[in-house]
């Protein structure tokens, strides 16, 4: 089967600092592909390059076989690429419902609508409510997103990307800063996506990564040093060296 996402020879340097050093990566249909690596390995840069927020110096990105390297972020989003942000990027002055509704709007409403469209918007709201319910934020629908707790914001972030009915989900540390219970909920949520939505998961929580990932790639100093199943990665001496050299243990 052809991969949903294919990254070929991606390079990016800021001055002398090479953050993407010829990265090749594939996310196959239905799989959760985890990308791990020590801090400063260039994970978020890679996500930004895939999402279109950062332009690589060289290399190509393909989504479902289509070359999207030159497309701006919003056009990639329209092709079904959804991104959850590492630093929570909910819209603080919108309610939870509005945050999700506008995500559906972005999916459905391609042209400008300069006047209110009540019928359309009611439909969006209903769908948004269902998604919000499914991530467990049902009681917070009318709360301003800015006043949610950190963990709730992480759930809302997921609700927003789910509302996009994504062809590929780029999840940049979805569990960062979430508490134990919320992490469990997020893991369950991603578990549910398995087999339907392919996910590129960037995560520091190794328990979550090993529980969820079909395959794992390890990024160190802008290079993928290993790629394989959880067992292969655990056994890989190069990976162990890279991780033992830093503060983060591979097995938490």
């Amino acid at each position: 089967m052809s991969p949903t996402l294919k990254v070929e020879g991606l390079r990016k340097a800021y001055g002398g600092l090479v953050v993407s050093d010829g990265i090749d990566l594939e996310v196959r249909p239905g799989e959760i592909h985890a990308l791990i690596g020590p801090n400063g390995a260039g994970k978020t840069t890679l996500v930004s390059e895939i999402a279109g927020a950062v332009t690589p110096d060289a290399g190509r990105v393909f989504l479902e076989g289509r070359d999207i390297t030159g497309l701006p972020p919003h056009e990639r989003a329209r092709l079904g690429l959804a991104r959850s942000f590492q630093i929570t990027a909910v819209l603080p002055r919108f309610t939870v419902l509005e945050n999700v509704t506008i995500a559906i709007q972005g999916l459905e409403c391609r042209r400008f609508r300069f006047l209110p469209a009540p019928a359309l918007e009611t439909g969006w709201c209903e769908r948004a409510s269902a998604i919000i319910e499914s991530v467990g934020l049902g009681r917070r629908v009318d709360t301003l997103a800015g006043s949610l707790s950190h963990g709730e914001k992480r759930m809302l972030e997921m609700a927003i990307v789910l509302a996009r009915a994504p062809r590929l989900l780029l999840a940049d540390e979805p569990m960062a800063g979430a508490g134990g219970e919320e992490t469990a909920a997020l893991v369950a949520l991603l578990e549910r996506l398995k087999g339907t939505v392919p996910v590129l998961l960037i995560e520091h929580d190794m328990d979550a990564v090993f529980a969820l990932a079909d395959r794992i790639s390890v990024l160190v100093y802008g290079r993928i040093i290993a790629s394989g199943t959880a067992a292969e990665i655990r056994a890989n001496p190069e990976v162990q060296a890279a991780y033992l050299g830093s503060d983060e243990g591979l097995v938490a």
């Binding site: 919003h74 819209l91 709007q105």
Partner: protein, 314 residues
């Protein structure tokens, strides 16, 4: 939020009722020129609404709004000097000309953010100002007299100050209603969302540049309407309408009235011009009072005017 909305609900209505009765009040109190003054205030209120659309909702601090107003005014003035007076033609022409100007300059300005945007809009505003001063065929520095007000279906009813006032009031109400619909529309949601987090909104598939350019153009077009009315009101157009200080005054009206509310800027325009009228009547150097007042208001607002408005609105 709901309580603010409810409170704000009757206030515009009350103001429009008073505004509708204004010419009568003016005449009964023996001050018919109050109607003339009020027409001017309402025209500036339209301009303030246009600025609020980009400043209050899009967080685009445009310092060139007076340029768009001026283009509208000159459209009417220049058309009149060629004998074209029909309001149903020249006013749409003013709207179109200003909208087009905003569209073209927007291609450069809207790509930029923050201080660049401020300076670039300022520069484009000044460009129009200097262009007008060098239009020797249309009065140059001295401006251009508009010999008669626009006609409506060929009739000169707008020459009557009370009719003109009513005409402006109706247009203001229409602009206000349309602007409210616009900001509540799916399009408007994208504009307010983009102000909160651009990367998020882009990741939802929205072309932020296109949206911003569109609202910038709409804003310019509405400012053009205000300009067209201003030319009719004063029966005169002059580069002074486009001076960057005028743009600054519009920002003051919007911000002090309450940006991002659409109604606040109307109140701000009335208050500012009212204050100007009263103070200027007392003392020619009234700006020496206004300036420090403005500085104090900004410095006293805890955490900046932006946050002051945010807390009030949420």
């Amino acid at each position: 939020m709901t309580s603010t909305r409810r409170r704000a609900g009757w206030l515009p209505l009350a103001l429009f009722v008073v505004a509708a009765a204004w010419p009568m009040i003016a005449e009964m109190s023996g001050n018919p020129f109050w109607t003339v003054l009020a027409s001017r205030m309402l025209i500036f209120a339209i301009a303030a609404i246009s600025l609020d659309l980009i400043l209050g909702y899009g967080a685009m601090v445009s310092f060139g709004q007076a340029g768009a107003v001026g283009i509208g005014a000159y459209s009417v003035g220049i058309a009149a000097s060629h004998g074209l007076n029909e309001g149903l033609i020249v006013l749409p022409l003013a709207v179109l000309a200003s909208g087009l100007f905003s569209l073209v300059t927007g291609f450069v300005a809207v790509r930029t953010r923050g201080v660049y945007f401020i300076m670039i809009t300022l520069a484009f505003g000044q460009m129009i100002y200097f262009t007008a001063t060098s239009l020797s065929a249309y009065g140059g520095d001295d401006g251009l007299t508009v010999w008669s007000r626009s006609t409506i279906f060929g009739s000169g009813i707008l020459e009557d100050e009370r009719v003109f006032y009513a005409f402006v009031l109706i247009l203001l109400a229409a602009v206000w209603v349309l602007a409210r619909l616009l900001v509540a529309s799916p399009f408007g949601k994208v504009i307010t969302a983009a102000r909160q987090n651009e990367a998020r909104v882009e990741s939802l598939g929205f072309d932020i540049f296109a949206h911003r350019l569109a609202i910038y153009t709409i804003s310019g077009a509405i400012a053009g309407l205000a300009g067209g009315l201003l030319a009719n009101h004063a029966e005169f157009v002059s580069p002074a309408y486009m001076n960057w200080q005028r743009s600054g005054e519009l920002i003051v009206m919007v911000v002090l009235g309450g940006m991002g509310t659409l109604f606040g800027p109307i109140a701000g325009a009335l208050a500012y011009l009212g204050l100007e009228h009263v103070l200027a009547g007392f003392w020619q150097h009234w700006r020496i009072i206004l300036g420090p007042l403005l500085i104090l208001v900004v410095l006293r607002a805890p955490g900046g005017l932006g946050s002051f408005i945010k807390t009030r609105r949420t």
